[in-house]
Symmetry: C2
Subunit: 339 residues, 2 copies
DNA sequence: CTGAAAGCGCTTACAG
DNA sequence: CTGAAAGCGCTTACAG
């Protein structure tokens, strides 16, 4: 016997019908304990394992979900993924990862593949939900939940923090520490998820404290380290003074700190830095990074929980705006006024 | 029509048999261009999408591979995963991620799930291949390739660097810079993949240069940042002097640097540090980290390439010992002898 | 308690 | 060029 044993093989070996084998496999009722034993023995001897594909075909259920990320590398996505996979596995689901690179074509392609593979649900992470995605999603009658993003067109449950408010608080914290010349390293220009909202929070905080917002104190990156370090260089060469900087991601903050320190600027004495995300990283670097904590692993778990609830009982689930938190570490100090 | 359209629906609509529809779907020959058009129209109108599960059942091919990681978070795994997923997607495969947490039970469970889901192949990353895995793997007639690890029991193709040699070179580099009191922060005790070999390389380098190896200069971590920082604290409190340290991972190196700097030790002036991996991270921190470059994304790609070759034409593929490289940055300086 | 049979959505010889 | 039919490995009424 070259091929793996099927349910037929065990039925034959146990001298019963496949229906009965299927029953004991699912712990249904309807067989004597004697036949159950016979069947269990046959399964054992043959090393039989059910074929989930065949099962999926008849049940119209694959116990598989798809997760779309704009980038699978980096701490951010991987922490989120960890939370998702953890919960999924505990509930008997597998997860297919899709790295969209935040590209429209790729995203649409993945959406199609996931549809063909009959996934039971989809988690869409971090990227903006473009109109075409919105439409594709609603056409493939499959539950979807968003994490770290939201849809402006339709009601899709999401899990995220209040980015605008968190940025507002980060900036205010700097102000409370006496800073008034505060630069910002924002995320990708035009990013409506983690870009604009955080920038707005920054602007609002300055305004509410009667501080004018100077455009040349704003530099743009793309959330990763390299871009943070470049943004800092531009800021430094820009000729505007600043005693503190708020970076829209920890990775950019780390890159920015590195660039500043390379120029001989001491942190936090000469420059205070606050980040955003609270990646494991921010605790390890020196000086450790003051930042906004975003419970990524937990958010991944929650998103997955919502998705599976949707899959299992189809009831609507609510979105969750989860709490963020400012973590004080060493990269911010009160402004030392030259006296 | 509530359910998604099937091949039957398009056959009916185009007034042909399902066989013919299947033919045009696969660009086989055997139909007039007129019927082809009819069918294409029907597909279009119905919004038909093939069902990959049904297809998988008859073809015994799911176009899906499974990837087992000891930890899916952290830069290391996510970079590897990125390379794997990228290549897989380009070849029409999806990837299911499995986070084993380096736990035997979980790993076996995942192996079973992957088998039931009929994946076409498996990539096993970073963790030691225990005997029970080895056996489970050989029982499920599915191609497997290893990345960052190897099997001691059977021939399974792998992709990795020469850990022992790389560690030897890292240590030698420190020696060439005049250091003789060299500490090491090793990975997990007993880890036969990235633990012992790197430790051996370190020992060998010392020995070959006539330097005695002092056991109290060796501390053990678990490859992550936190453990590196703790290891450094232990080293510092241990009372042994050292002017340089070799950490078996960048994450531990970063954690160690942070811990040292917190104590007021300047790097590299008072302490040289060399890491291992060359994560994106190591370029961004200050001082930037001198380290051993390991082409993780490329290694992921290669592993996936081998796996798909195995799946597609079943021929044996060779293992690859890929080249590492020492990257000089700022965390190591020649020993300044107090004169 | 148990089995025969239909069906899930495809593909693939086989026959015309 | 085209279709009827068997079959992939399961599950699930239905009938006994």
């Amino acid at each position: 016997m070259k091929n793996p044993p099927t349910i037929k093989d065990v039925a034959k070996r146990a001298n019963v019908s496949v229906a009965t084998v299927s029953r004991v496999l699912h712990n249904l009722s309807g067989y004597s304990s004697a036949t159950k034993d016979k069947i269990l023995d046959a399964i054992e001897e043959l090393g039989y394992q059910p074929n989930a594909i065949a099962r999926g075909l008849v049940n119209k259920r694959t116990q598989t979900i798809g997760v779309l990320f704009p980038a699978v590398s980096g701490y951010f996505s991987s922490t989120l993924l960890h939370g998702i996979e953890e919960y999924a596995h505990s509930k008997g689901f597998s997860v297919i990862v899709c790295n969209t690179q935040d590209d429209g074509k790729r995203t649409m392609k993945y959406l199609q593949v996931l549809r063909e593979k009959q996934v039971d649900g989809i988690i869409f992470a971090s990227a903006e939900v473009k109109d075409e995605y919105d439409q594709a999603i609603s056409e493939m009658r499959v539950p979807v939940v968003l994490v770290n993003t939201f849809s402006q067109k339709q009601i899709i449950p999401y899990v995220k923090i209040d980015d605008r408010l968190a940025a507002y608080q980060a900036t205010s914290y700097l102000i409370q520490n006496g800073h008034r010349e505060i630069a910002m390293i924002s995320g990708t220009v035009g990013d409506r998820i983690a870009g604009s909202p955080r920038l707005e929070g920054y602007r609002q905080a300055l305004e509410d404290h009667g501080i004018a917002c100077v455009e040349s104190r704003i530099a743009y990156g793309t959330f990763n380290m390299e871009s943070g370090s470049q943004a800092m260089e531009r800021l430094l060469e820009g000729g505007v003074s600043f005693t503190a900087v708020f970076a829209a991601s920890d990775e950019m903050a780390i890159g920015a700190m590195g660039a500043a320190m390379k120029k001989g600027i001491t942190i936090p004495e000469e420059l205070s830095v606050i980040g955003f995300d609270d990646l494991e990283l921010s605790r390890a670097v020196y000086p450790s990074l003051t930042t906004i904590h975003q419970p990524l692993a937990q958010m991944g778990r929650m998103a997955c929980e919502k998705l599976i609830a949707l899959i299992d009982d189809g009831e609507d689930v609510a979105s969750s705006m989860v709490a963020h938190k400012l973590i004080e570490r060493e990269s911010v100090s009160p402004l030392h006024r030259p006296s």
